[in-house]
Symmetry: C2
Subunit: 288 residues, 2 copies
């Protein structure tokens, strides 16, 4: 795990990690990760339902696309599939969150990179927290300007805008921040896709460079189609969303979560809406 | 350096780091850095000239502002000043690059954070590469869409847009990418401020949320004022820049670097311009 840059140097390059001072050539590889210096990596989050991993194939496909988009090479996606299965089996967690990322590798900090750099890989299997109350009662959300970069179609480690938006939401006791662009249009949640039911139709933003191609979104749209709901792929304005009959978010770890308050506005009756409940039931049939 | 989350759990949370599988509770702290998960941290780069650190006070001030903007607390900036001096003395490098960052700390990945989280700090003192040729002959640059987030006034670790822009520039044998926004206006370089000389005036973008408040920029403007140049703080269009009399970039590690080619266009005579050379000479008087 040591950097291999100790050569016959006449000067001494120096590193401080927290309180520890050492020669740079003795730096642990993890401290020189381009993931930290630049957010130079991509990730996935998936989950299991009652012992069964959901949509692994789709997550691996999207991961491949993210790797290609940022030109990270040398990752064997089939090997990642094996690691997911191995770690999941070792954990023995029925309802688990499975997170993994690959960064471009470890090297002294320079924007440019050596094409021989070996990517770093990290995977975690953790217990999902119980969000039953969120799903049965619905959540409150609040709006935040969409400060993210212009390639949100790439699932990258550049997530500070999401973290800060979520922080502001939490200060208002809201479970999610809904991101609003310069035109007053909703893109998506800080870590979720965003949906409205208006006059019996399901509306959500179209997939553009500002939107993550959410796998859960795909299954929500499939569920809506199977329930005979018309699907409208048009961005919602903030004002439209406040006036919607029903709102919900969708994310890998919790799938569909009803939204019953948006800033100062109560949505519908203040309880999960009928169409939302039908979609949740249909979604359950895919995962169990 | 171990995470302290090994409790009386009945299930086993699992981590894989590259090829190694281990219980999450044995994870090295560096592998759970929010800097990697989210780019949740801020940084500075400064340099020394012939044994003298330049503009340390200004860099520490900007660092404080970055920390406040992302609500990272528990960093003693005076202690960082001491660490910079300690590491610089230990390195004994005359012309050094000094990089440091603070991340929000290490914890299992969640967008939200515990207010007791202890920040991680890293500092590196490395040898500056010799860029004499860049400064004497000038460089070629190329345009790239500005994909960065909307708070570039914060010097954060979310730098993937910068890395990718620089990569595209390097493929065209260009030393820097010049970022162009949706309106066709130049914001700045991927890791530099951008300047034009047009009809004897110095023009650069005004400081907004899209622009890093560059310390080198401040000294360039000071130099221009002392040379009697009129200063125009107006964003340049891409087209205007191509037609400029002179162009240059400015960054901490190299201060002023003349730009003599921009995409397919030769700027001025294809050699560093007169006003640029005067500014370089004036700048040298501040640092030596």
């Amino acid at each position: 795990m040591k950097q291999n840059n100790c050569g016959a140097r006449t000067i001494m390059e120096i590193l401080i990690i927290n309180d520890q001072i050492l020669p740079l050539c003795d730096a642990p590889s993890a401290c020189l990760d381009r993931g930290t210096f630049f957010g130079d990596g991509v990730y996935e989050v998936l989950r299991s339902y009652n012992g069964k991993i959901f949509a692994l194939k789709e997550h691996l496909e999207r991961f491949s696309q993210s790797l290609a988009a940022v030109e990270i090479t040398g990752i064997d996606v089939e090997q990642i599939r094996q690691r997911v299965l191995q770690a999941y089996a070792a954990a023995g967690i029925s309802n688990a969150r499975i997170y993994f990322h690959a960064t471009r590798g470890s090297a002294p900090r320079e924007h440019s990179w050596d094409s021989n750099l070996k990517p770093n890989f990290l995977l975690m299997v953790t217990q999902l927290s119980d969000e039953t109350e969120h799903k049965t009662k619905g959540i409150a959300v609040s709006a935040h300007p969409d400060w993210r970069w212009k390639r949100c179609d790439i699932k990258s480690l550049n997530l500070l805008a999401n973290v800060l938006a979520r922080r502001q939401a939490a200060k208002k006791s809201c479970a999610e921040a809904i991101l609003v662009d310069d035109q007053g249009l909703i893109t998506e949640g800080a870590s979720s896709a965003f949906f409205a039911i208006i006059d019996g139709r399901l509306q959500t933003a179209p997939l553009t460079a500002n939107i993550l191609p959410s796998i859960t979104r795909k299954y929500v749209i499939k569920a809506a189609a199977e329930l005979g709901l018309e699907i409208v792929r048009n961005s919602l304005s903030y004002k439209q969303a406040l006036e919607a009959d029903e709102l919900f978010i969708a994310a890998t770890t919790q799938d569909i979560v009803p939204v019953v308050h948006f800033d100062d506005k109560t949505i519908g009756t203040g309880r999960p809406g009928k169409a939302t409940l039908l979609l949740m039931e249909k979604f359950r049939s895919y995962v169990l």
